[in-house]
Symmetry: D2
Subunit: 254 residues, 4 copies
């Protein structure tokens, strides 16, 4: 903005703001608070957020080759998950997946789908269960919670057993859902104790479900989380036995 | 997740985490960290983020009636901006717009477009300039910065004169761009001094441009910002003299 | 400071700092960043921190009258604790104490002493146990931990079952110890959910034992803490059955 | 605490807290939230905070040898300041002092005295001016502000030109004053941009003057501060031309 037009526009709101300034402050020029260097890096956005902007790392592009290039199973071998229709599906017994690359702070986009055919004999955690482990430790839950209640801190959009989602914005089983995650890694001191905890903001299907929450440590199924020193680490996808699918995974280092 | 499969899957990453627990901690049961109540509210996402999820307030639906229902000009009168093709366009001399409703914390989606025909005689702040004032005070800059350099803390995606965007992810003039904003209002103490500053996270065209930044006060064109007590306040759109257009504006109270 | 002498003094450290400034920034004058109003309130410090500065509320001055004036027992009646030698001592069976006044953010000074004669048959939590409940809910533990080990998150200087102290800086039983506490109350939203958690910094005997820690909810003896809306509240002292003494209690509202 | 006595004592405040727990949560045992390892380090406090606790580094013990051991002038040579009566006094023209050791996070105790004989011809910044530079960059102002007004963000207890003190708790010229500082160093990312800003809490003469403030960059006499990457750094004392004295300087690494 320049104030020229604005002063005319929003007199009520803006005239009060100058009162704290002494005469010398008032003599400042606009240019004194304008900073030009360094120039902000220019990147190109994608058509939609399913697609990666120009500075992103495409972690999974929908091909078997792409999956093998960036991911291993938990034994460090080639992933055992089936790739079809541009997505990779949990293939029971082949174990979870983990990226070869490791990360600290990032913006992550990932799409997931729970099975269209619901096993109605299963409920709560038994339906469409998987999970995305940020830095291999902090689980953002993936679950079919469409008309399927579970404990609030274990449902889709939760940081498992730490933070319930702000709302349940799940789509129907068989429909693709999105997570957009802004993640800040924990930092540790020289003696390996915690300096600052991990933080995350998550949008599910475009709706805020985690608002800059602070994680209390690695995800624990039993007991109380506690931080333990670690460095950069990968993104891991859980094999929980249900054929959950993933696609369009991209990440921007922050 | 349940740990059953996971233990098999990610032994390396997870076995270490139990070591801090004394024998009694280890006897905890999974159910002891599962919280069911209150149930998380269920809402329905939209097809795309241009559309509002079920719990959002649609601030502008593309119609003249919709604009008049939710907005006024800065004199409290009906908005003078032209509505056409589902968007509202700054109409020079009619002043800025402001919502009738007021807000504290929110998630805001808004789309904007700078003029397709570029006035090449203008540059820097002179090209496609407008702005979105959160709570009528904190300006998220709107500007044509496609091939048009300006000071880094004044370009599109900046909190004007406070925080430059992390990247310049602008689209071409004449193309629609999106802002998705997660905003936390400042809080004040009983004596009107600041308790906690405003904070915001912004995605421009799906790309993170502001990562939980802390605002240092209301936007100032000249001088150094300083907080001043205020309560809930509206969203304001600036008339900076350029025919910038807006559409698909929705907001969810947080 | 003025830079005049400094520039000569610390050239190495300081000359680099001007490089981000464009020519206009460099033309700023020192006066432009000098703010005079409002004048900072003048108060008078005490001789030592056992004594209250001029703007403090003296919550306990060592007299029976002073205790009765500012405190009640948990039934709202006059305190049952014995006052002698300028201190008040937990008198078993009379219950805890609570201030009549309520507070939000504050600086608190308080002195405490565990019994000089140690019941060697008792150990861990059994020795010299009491506690200071900030806003009646958040317990800063008082315990005889001189040569008496207990669980780290339950010892003197801990926020009970939430944050162990950084060091064990306890004096011998029978010696007076000090806590200097800087406390920020939690804030809640209009719907009674948490906006920002309580935070505290604590010096024990002049040594930092809690460094701006974030409390996870009211103190729980069993289970996991969870915030519940509350407004301003008092300081409470626990009757845990041991004759722990208190003196020189003053508080400054922040 | 144990709940046994407490439940009887504070029924009103505490009974409500269990309501969020499901039946399984309620079956937790107290021991499940008690953590014993690692044992908290035991240290010995000093008689008063003028003296160092057992784990502190004594940076100045009042002797010429002690000063020469830990400090240099700004040319890396032996300090030129006069040591007498257990204190070191700024000796005009000899330049500032800087510790040989470097630090990140710390608790610092330092005592200072402005000249007993006031040069009444001087006022504002001209009277008893010196400064303590944390990590050689972030100035905690030292000034005679007893009956001597200056700009609020430049007086004793301020972080110079960034944060005015909460109160003016200055003693008379010629009297010893204390600063107790809790300092968290800024952290930087691998690309040298800021990860988290420096933070500090300061007690002057036992009274809170800075409450966990966030510094916006190295102290600037002219213009707007901006962070620049640095690692561990020393404590520096400013030679501003006035014979300000220092004593009892100790620091604990955090």
């Amino acid at each position: 903005m320049k104030r020229i037009v604005l002063v005319a526009s929003f007199l009520g709101a803006f005239t009060a703001f100058a009162q704290h300034q002494n005469p010398e402050n008032a003599k400042m020029k606009p240019e004194m608070t304008e900073f030009w260097d360094p120039e902000v890096a220019v990147i190109t956005p994608a058509e939609s957020n399913s697609n990666a902007p120009s500075d992103a790392i495409v972690l999974f592009d929908g091909t078997t080759e792409g999956l093998a290039q960036n991911w291993t199973n938990n034994k460090g071998e080639a992933p055992g998950w089936v790739v079809a229709d541009n997505c990779a599906t949990v293939t029971k017994g082949t174990g979870g997946l983990k990226t070869k690359m490791t990360f600290e702070d990032f913006q992550l986009h990932i799409e997931w789908r729970t099975p269209a055919v619901v096993d109605t004999a299963s409920k709560s955690q038994g339906r469409g269960n998987s999970g995305i482990f940020l830095q291999e430790r902090y689980e953002l839950q993936v679950l079919d919670n469409y008309g399927n209640r579970t404990y609030r801190n274990g449902q889709a959009g939760s940081f498992y057993k730490q933070h319930p989602p702000l709302v349940n914005v799940c789509k129907k089983p068989g429909e693709w859902q999105t997570y957009d995650v802004i993640y800040t890694a924990p930092r540790f001191k020289a003696d390996s104790t915690l300096f600052s905890p991990a933080r995350a903001t998550v949008l599910q299907n475009g709706v805020l479900v985690q608002n800059n929450v602070q994680l209390s440590g690695p995800t624990e199924y039993i007991g109380i989380p506690k931080y333990k020193f670690h460095g950069p680490a990968g993104i891991a996808l859980q094999d929980h036995g249900n054929p959950v699918s993933y696609r369009n995974i991209w990440l921007r280092k922050l």
